[in-house]
């Protein structure tokens, strides 16, 4: 049952990623991205990372995608639907992409991973909470500073523009 779910979500993700990459219009890419994020969230669920899945949905779909859509809206002069995004040097890019893909596949298949699979599905939120507060305290505080920086920076740039 679980495998079926994996293949389903994998197909969904890859299909939507394909839509995003190969679509002409930016909005279609955005929709593609939406379903990709949803697919990836599904994958996290299958990997028993429930908090991360929901966080993914919340931040990526609720936050970044909205932002991207806003960005698109604000930066499109061309009317309505036909917002073409031209592409350049597709052929060489395709070759290189396939090459990199080939490399990754070789690497993945070649190396033996220290696999010690877990079978149970426990809720992760509590553990994450404690971990964040103890082991990862410093990155936690640094992230706050990072966010502050990003906020001030982006606000400043947006306002200046």
């Amino acid at each position: 049952m679980q495998d079926i779910m994996f293949y389903m979500f994998a197909a969904l993700t890859i299909a939507s990623a394909g839509v995003m990459v190969f679509s002409r219009s930016v909005i279609y890419s955005a929709v593609g991205l939406l379903f990709t994020f949803f697919g990836v969230a599904g994958i996290y669920v299958l990997l028993a990372a429930d908090f991360v899945a929901v966080a993914q949905v919340m931040i990526y779909v609720g936050g970044i995608l909205v932002l991207l859509l806003f960005g698109v809206m604000l930066s499109q002069r061309v009317t309505g639907v036909n917002m073409r995004t031209e592409t350049l040097q597709t052929v060489p890019a395709a070759i290189v992409a396939v090459g990199v893909l080939f490399i990754l596949f070789r690497v993945i298949s070649k190396t033996e991973w220290l696999v010690k699979a877990k079978t149970t599905f426990e809720p992760t939120t509590a553990k994450l909470g404690t971990l964040l507060m103890t082991d990862y305290l410093i990155p936690f505080e640094i992230v706050s500073v990072l966010l502050l920086g990003a906020l001030i920076g982006a606000a400043f740039i947006a306002r200046k523009g």
């Binding site: 049952m1 929709v31 908090f51 779909v61 909205v66 859509l69 809206m73 939120t125």
Partner: protein, 363 residues
């Protein structure tokens, strides 16, 4: 997983059906749950539409829809135009679905799907009774907030797909409104979570069982109440209702993002909106008003009554929503933003701080 075993036991007990393998029963039960909830959602939406028109009418000292009735004997004598919304539904079913030429056909079609699906997905987590939680998700509350962001995306897509600058502007405005009110809502929810110590809605309700005094609204006296109030206002804004119904305010930009929608797609948006209203009602009752726990402690606390209490509380909240719609004047956009960022958010953080300190000091 308590629910699972319970369902299993119930079915086997009924031995209506031959004993199925474990997974099949689960799937069967899930589908059953889903069907019930979807039907419930649709029904509730219609009821609340009817209720809305009746309440607003009576508030304005008029009768509201009275005429529409059926020939069916029992139902006939209910009177008061109870079938009005049913008639509307059928009307919309038959209405022509006009899709503007310049619109982006696919997105125009996709938008209602996303909105409604997201709203319905939220229903999966709502606790109607001790064992009547369709999906007893451990990260329940967090999931609810995440799902609301799906709606935002749907709205933006709807606005964009109809290729009408007014609808796009309306969509952007409503998106901005929902987005900016989501922060105070989330923070106030956080206050509750801090008190309860778990994201699972079932546990939140169990935390509040045992009489009205244990309801979260009264505990940690001022702060939870403040959180309740902030959440209530924020949810109003997220529903684009009442004082904050700027996007599809008649006097403003036509019908907001679903101006270009007609027929069944418009019905879907309308349905999603009222389902959302009911959803918010249940959430507020779960978080602050003790969910399925009866106000009288253990009395009237059996299974059917739990569902009863959930509906009573949520309809009470819906009533207040409606009530506010016809009392408070519409809010200007900048006032809207002001309330969200400069009033609700700070107070939400204050309440969080308060609860935190309260719990630290008491412990």
């Amino acid at each position: 997983m308590p629910v699972l075993s319970a369902n299993h036991a119930v079915i086997n007990a009924l031995s209506i059906l031959p004993t199925f393998s474990e997974t099949l029963t689960n799937v069967l039960f899930m589908v059953l749950g889903a069907v019930i909830i979807t039907g419930l959602a649709a029904l509730l939406a219609l009821v609340s539409v009817y209720l809305e028109r009746k309440v607003s009418a009576h508030m304005q000292d008029r009768l509201g829809p009275m005429e529409v009735n059926t020939e069916i004997p029992i139902l006939k004598n209910i009177g008061h135009g109870w079938a009005q919304t049913l008639a509307d539904a059928f009307k919309l079913l038959l209405k022509e679905d006009i899709v503007p030429a310049a619109a982006d056909k696919k997105l125009h079609l996709l938008a209602p799907f996303i909105v409604f699906a997201a709203t319905l997905a939220a229903f999966a987590v709502l606790p109607f009774g001790r064992n009547l939680i369709p999906s007893d998700l451990n990260v329940g509350v967090f999931y609810l907030i995440a799902i609301s962001s799906f709606v935002v995306v749907g709205i933006i897509l709807a606005g964009w797909a109809s290729n009408n600058k007014w609808s796009l502007l309306g969509a952007m405005r409503s998106a901005a409104q929902i987005v900016s009110f989501e922060i105070p809502a989330s923070v106030s929810v956080l206050v509750v979570i801090m008190a309860v110590g778990s994201l699972n809605l079932g546990e939140i309700v169990e935390f509040q069982e045992g009489g009205i005094h244990r309801w979260l609204i009264w505990r940690f006296f001022p702060f939870n109440l403040l959180a309740f109030f902030i959440f209530f206002v924020a949810s109003l804004a997220e529903l684009n209702r009442a004082p904050f119904d700027l996007p599809e305010a008649e006097s403003e930009i036509i019908a907001g993002f679903h101006t270009e929608y007609s027929g069944m797609k418009f019905a879907m948006f309308f349905l999603a909106e009222y389902a959302n209203m009911f959803l918010v009602g249940v959430i507020i009752s779960t978080l602050f008003l003790g969910g399925w726990s009866s106000p009288f402690g253990s009395f009237l606390n059996s299974a059917p009554f739990q569902v009863f209490w959930v509906f009573v509380k949520s309809f009470a909240i819906i009533f207040v929503h409606m009530w506010l719609r016809w009392t408070l004047p519409r809010v200007r956009v900048d006032q809207l933003m002001y309330t969200s960022w400069k009033v609700l958010t700070p107070f939400a953080f204050v309440s969080m701080l308060g609860v935190g300190l309260w719990m630290i000091l008491i412990q």
